[in-house]
């Protein structure tokens, strides 16, 4: 407790103007930045996978399974930041057994379970069922056991059964698209519905969260595809990269437009909170908002991707550019979440002052825990790739450009 007070006294000494005394402690820290970030990556990666399946975009085939597995890996970790940030984490299950129906947060448990159990796991299972059966036959030792269990006892791989797998999988994907929209639009609603906070309270928030989720998910798949290809020492498919780049370009334009619209609306109306929000943007959020989110995370990728729509330089240059773009977009969206979550707590609801955010290193809400939580989905992703390697699936033919 002493450390906590020391931290609060330090923040108190850095308060600008007047803030309510209870506002000195900034309650939603980096873990709540991670929560919408990770959930967004899930929704975005899944939507990209669905595009391939529902709209039959063949050129995206090499990333289809990667997207699904990435979505699962990140979804499995999505609840951890939420649980870690509770002051009473041992009570988290109450949200499932006695949910308050008027609370947007209470519904998250159900949206999450729906998405995990009904959408993602089902889709992956139907997609891999035949391979589970065949891998169970081919493998030895513990792997054989794992694959046998994963078949859930359904070992019929007659053409008729496989056709049903395909049909049901398709149906789940169709349900999955609105579910992915719901998952992340809903996360936006958690913030957008807080009328006490003018930085959050916006009907645009769910839509902005949704599009930024798609941007980050597409960038994630681009990044993972290139990394996985590099590790497997096979060239990533250029047509696939170009197509993902093209999608990223379009969705990024939409996302940027929506966010700009939200800000323009806020400036034009210039309500009571306007002066405070203006100071917030030009002061404490200047670097994370204008430099990182807008310039590095949005404008530069837009220029590069826009250029590629008209002029295509050599493949090597395009590859490197796509790789860099995927990273800066991922960083940009992380800071978009940061600007929403942290930014919304830096000013006082009295509109007379600002508090300060100091990231602590150790502790429940510290940087180390956050880095661990961010690294965890990548570890799960690697494990799932080992367990469910898409390139060893029996109907996949390697696509490469040489």
């Amino acid at each position: 407790m002493e450390n906590h007070f020391e931290h609060l006294y330090e923040v108190l000494s850095k308060v600008d103007g007047y803030i309510y005394p209870n506002e000195i402690e900034l309650h939603w820290s980096i873990l709540i930045v991670l929560y919408p970030y990770i959930t967004g990556l899930v929704a975005g990666a899944f939507i990209l996978a669905s595009l391939e399946r529902v709209f039959n975009v063949k050129v995206l085939k090499p990333t289809y399974h990667l997207s699904l597995i990435a979505a699962l890996a990140f979804l499995l970790t999505a609840t951890l930041p939420l649980i870690f940030h509770l002051t009473q984490p041992q009570r988290f299950f109450e949200i499932m057994i006695t949910p308050n129906p008027t609370s947007a947060m209470a519904i998250f448990g159900f949206v999450y379970m729906w998405y995990l159990m009904v959408v993602l796991l089902l889709e992956i299972w139907f997609d891999y069922r035949k391979d589970f059966v065949l891998w169970a036959r081919e493998s030895k030792g513990i792997k054989k056991w794992i694959y046998t269990i994963l078949t859930l006892g359904v070992t019929d791989i007659s053409p008729k059964a496989l056709k049903w797998d395909e049909k049901i999988g398709y149906f789940v994907t169709v349900i999955g698209i609105p579910s992915a929209f719901l998952l992340h639009g809903y996360v936006g609603f958690i913030f957008g519905s807080i009328k006490a906070n003018p930085w959050w309270s916006s009907v645009m928030m769910p839509v902005i969260f949704l599009f930024s989720a798609m941007v980050s998910g597409i960038a994630l798949v681009l990044f993972l595809y290139m990394i996985v290809s590099f590790i497997r020492k096979i060239p990533s498919d250029m047509k696939c990269l170009d197509t993902i780049g093209q999608y990223l370009f379009y969705i990024l334009i939409l996302d940027f437009t929506l966010e700009a619209l939200d800000q323009i609306h806020r400036f034009y109306e210039a309500e009571e909170s306007f002066a405070t929000l203006q100071m917030l943007m030009s002061g404490k959020l200047y670097i994370t908002l204008f430099i990182i989110q807008i310039l590095i995370g949005t404008v530069i990728p837009l220029i590069a991707l826009g250029l590629f729509q008209f002029y295509k330089p050599a493949e090597k240059i395009r590859r490197i550019t796509y790789f860099i773009i995927s990273i800066v977009v991922l960083v940009g969206i992380f800071f978009m979440r940061w600007n929403v979550v942290i930014g919304g707590q830096l000013f006082s609801k009295s509109f007379y002052g600002f508090t300060n955010f100091k990231l602590i290193l150790a502790g429940q809400e510290g940087l180390f825990v956050s880095l661990m939580l961010l690294a965890l989905p990548f570890a799960i992703f690697a494990f799932l790739l080992w367990l469910l390697p898409p390139w060893k699936k029996h109907d996949i033919i390697e696509v490469s450009d040489d």
């Binding site: 407790m1 906590h4 007070f5 609060l8 108190l12 103007g17 007047y18 803030i19 309510y20 005394p21 209870n22 506002e23 000195i24 402690e25 309650h27 939603w28 939420l82 940030h85 509770l86 002051t87 009473q88 009570r91 988290f92 109450e94 949200i95 006695t98 949910p99 308050n100 129906p101 008027t102 609370s103 947007a104 947060m105 209470a106 998250f108 958690i190 519905s193 807080i194 009328k195 006490a196 906070n197 009571e272 919304g344 707590q345 006082s348 609801k349 009295s350 509109f351 007379y352 002052g353």
Partner: protein
């Protein structure tokens, strides 16, 4: 004939059954959406309906109420945890506003603005507004924050997760995490006292009678009279929280 009749009966029965089943399904799908109407529905007021009146002109900024509250409710003394606090507003001649509340006003105030620059100065006591459709109650994911039948917003400390969504949702900054209990804490309008017929600690110790605790529905009561005789305002009225803390002489500069 008989056979035909049976068929018609069965059909009718099945039709009715389908209508009932369809109706039940439709209602069970639509009903949860009723929860979006939380802030739009007015609650029926029966029995006592507690609130507070605050006469800003009478507040002298002595800080007794803050001290009494901390001691009555065992709130840690550090300057980050307040169930109630007092703000000093100083409107300068150039129309800028200086707001101060050192240690929540617990130790009284000194004026940092030179006399000749002051246009007007006054004190504003703050506390939970005991909203009739509280944003905090609306957002609590587990119902640990709730409104008592008497209109007091309370927290079940054995059920609170500490997710702090309610702290974000409160427009008045009246909630905090109590470092001892490690769950959310707020003004209970001294529920343990008022349910025994006593006044709140803050109202009791106020030397000028700036805080008037009472039952809004009690037509003979002090609060009823205060509301009848004075023009009062609530804080952030545009947010429609149903605040039950009524301020007399509230300046528009106060948020």
């Amino acid at each position: 004939m008989g056979v035909k009749k049976t068929k018609t009966d069965r059909r009718e029965f099945l039709e009715k059954l389908a209508i009932i089943a369809g109706g039940v399904i439709a209602v069970s799908i639509v009903k949860p959406f009723g929860s979006i109407l939380f802030a739009a529905v007015k609650r029926p007021e029966t029995g006592p309906w507690y609130g507070m009146g605050i006469n800003i002109s009478k507040c002298i900024g002595c800080g007794n109420c803050v001290k009494a509250c901390k001691s009555e409710n065992d709130i840690p003394n550090e300057p980050f945890f307040f169930r109630t606090w007092v703000e000093q507003y100083t409107i300068k001649n150039d129309e800028t506003v200086v707001v101060e509340s050192p240690n929540g006003g617990m130790d009284g105030f000194s004026q940092s603005v030179p006399d000749e620059e002051i246009f007007r100065s006054f004190f504003v006591p703050k506390l939970c507004n005991q909203c009739a459709h509280s944003p905090c109650v609306q957002v609590c994911p587990v119902g640990a924050t709730f409104e008592s039948p008497e209109g007091v917003v309370l927290v079940d400390s054995k059920y609170c997760l500490g997710c702090r969504y309610c702290i974000q949702a409160c427009p008045y900054g009246t909630r905090f995490i109590n470092p001892v209990t490690n769950v959310v804490d707020k003004c209970t309008l001294c529920y343990h006292r008022i349910m025994n017929g006593q006044s709140t600690a803050c109202a009791l110790v106020c030397p000028t009678g700036a805080r008037i605790f009472g039952d809004i529905n009690d037509e003979e009561g002090e609060l009823h009279a205060f509301l009848k005789e004075n023009i009062t305002h609530v804080l952030k009225a545009h947010l429609n929280t149903g605040s039950k803390v009524y301020y007399k002489d509230l300046s528009p500069n106060v948020h």
